[in-house]
């Protein structure tokens, strides 16, 4: 499995290698990485998930980018050179959603992974490139669902007012619209008050429990659910089952953390191993 994205702290060039946790600190090879909202939360959540299955093989391709886009372009350029292959899952995360660059590397990504999961900037780029249906999984929240439903726009900032106004009231309409416009992946996890598992434009599962109101306010809870998802798929669960389980495990970690809207994301994801135990004991079969 490979996770790729940008980080908001210094890293020399494009960093590629095995990521691991040591005493709850994150490392890429021997380089310590700060765990903060974004791609490092996703990676850490994935590693916590894999730990439950006594697996740890996870690679990351990371570059420093503070928003000026230079790092993102470096990462796309690295991918274009073709040093990626044979992954069960490739998950793209925070990155400047450059459309031309994404189109350039997409064939390489598609041929290098069995399953492509796109969240954050990588999802924006995939939608804006009209390649949504070629992606296995998108993981939007309500605002991003409005963006996917709006066929003409290439970034959520330009979404039509009418879609933004309905984004938490009529998500089902937005799903239908996004699918009809070819702007939704085959499977999707829509993160919100209810987490929705969507297959080919139809809701196949709704996850409501446990309900932890404060999680909506906490930056990184969307990153953590995607990390758990990647870990479950990597451990051998089917995609559909992983989507449902990842939502349940993320919510359960939230419940165990007893958060307020001021809680920081690490104080939630550290409960993923316990949440895994709680959720998995109710599963009839394992993998």
């Amino acid at each position: 499995m490979l996770i790729l994205g940008t980080v908001p702290f210094p890293l020399e060039g494009v960093s590629f290698g095995e990521v691991h946790l040591k005493e709850d600190k994150l490392y890429l090879a021997d380089k310590p990485l700060e765990i903060c909202m974004g791609t490092t939360t996703l990676i850490t959540s994935c590693l916590f998930t894999l730990t439950y299955f006594k697996r740890s093989s996870l690679k990351a391709l990371l570059v420093s980018d503070y928003g000026e886009g230079i790092g993102s372009k470096r990462l796309f350029s690295w991918l274009k050179k073709g040093l990626v292959n044979n992954y069960k899952v490739i998950c793209g995360h925070y990155i400047m959603p450059y459309v031309d660059e994404f189109k350039d590397v997409f064939p390489k990504l598609k041929s290098s992974a069995e399953i492509l999961i796109c969240d954050a900037g990588m999802m924006y780029a995939a939608k804006a490139s009209a390649l949504a249906k070629e992606i296995n999984v998108f993981t939007p929240d309500a605002g991003e669902m409005a963006f996917l439903a709006d066929k003409d726009v290439t970034h959520p900032a330009y979404v039509k007012k009418i879609f933004f106004e309905m984004d938490t009231k009529d998500v089902d309409f937005l799903i239908k619209k996004a699918w009809e416009e070819n702007n939704l992946s085959k499977l999707a996890l829509i993160k919100g008050k209810e987490d929705l598992v969507v297959k080919e434009g139809k809701v196949i599962d709704r996850i409501l429990h446990p309900t932890v109101k404060a999680m909506e306010a906490i930056g990184g809870t969307g990153d953590s659910v995607v990390g758990i998802l990647v870990g479950l798929v990597g451990a051998g669960f089917s995609l559909e089952r992983s989507l449902r389980l990842s939502a349940q495990i993320n919510r359960t970690a939230g419940k165990l953390a007893k958060p307020t809207p001021a809680t920081r994301i690490y104080d939630i994801i550290k409960f993923i191993p316990k949440a895994m135990e709680e959720v998995m004991k109710n599963e009839v079969d394992t993998i």
Partner: protein, 171 residues
């Protein structure tokens, strides 16, 4: 076949235009932004976007905030529009009270502050400056947020700024 199918097509939907008063200014803007490291080029604006000048500067829309910031320092009068449609970034926000904290959301960006006006969380977005801005905003009072937002470049940062501006009005 596969590679042929995904062959790169020039995309216009992700591009924006900088419109200025005259050709000389457009050329100066193009040169200036290139020197700043942005990938820009001079193009003819579509009729609906003409603003007295028949040369505009095309840029990558996701870099809108960085472009605007750079141009504001030059005192040049300019107008920005997406190339494919005439919509401006959505200008409404939604607010919500969660256990005494206020969450303000501008489409894909959320900021949460407490009763004292301190930012306690930032979430959403997909552009790389979001995690960076989040790190620098959390723990700060709303009134101290504008200088931090000066470090933003992307459209996600632009939406986060809208959420913060509204939060400042509410507080």
């Amino acid at each position: 076949m596969f590679f042929k199918r995904f062959k790169k097509n020039p995309s216009t939907s992700d591009k924006g235009l900088i419109l200025v008063e005259d050709v000389a200014t457009a050329m100066a803007v193009e040169r200036f932004l290139k020197e700043m490291g942005f990938e820009v080029k001079g193009v003819a604006p579509p009729p609906r976007l003409r603003k007295g000048c028949d040369l505009a500067v095309e840029f990558n829309l996701v870099e809108q905030m960085g472009i605007e910031k750079a141009l504001k320092n030059t005192k040049i009068s300019f107008f920005i529009a997406p190339l494919r449609h005439s919509e401006a970034p959505v200008d409404i926000v939604k607010t919500k009270d969660i256990d005494g904290y206020i969450l303000v959301r501008a489409v894909n960006m959320k900021v949460v502050f407490d009763k004292k006006g301190v930012i306690v969380n930032v979430s959403g977005g997909g552009c790389p400056d979001v995690p960076y801005l989040s790190k620098n905003l959390i723990g700060k009072h709303l009134k101290d947020a504008p200088p931090v937002m000066e470090m933003g470049f992307s459209l996600c940062a632009y939406m986060l700024k809208k959420a913060i501006d509204r939060a400042m009005e509410i507080f």
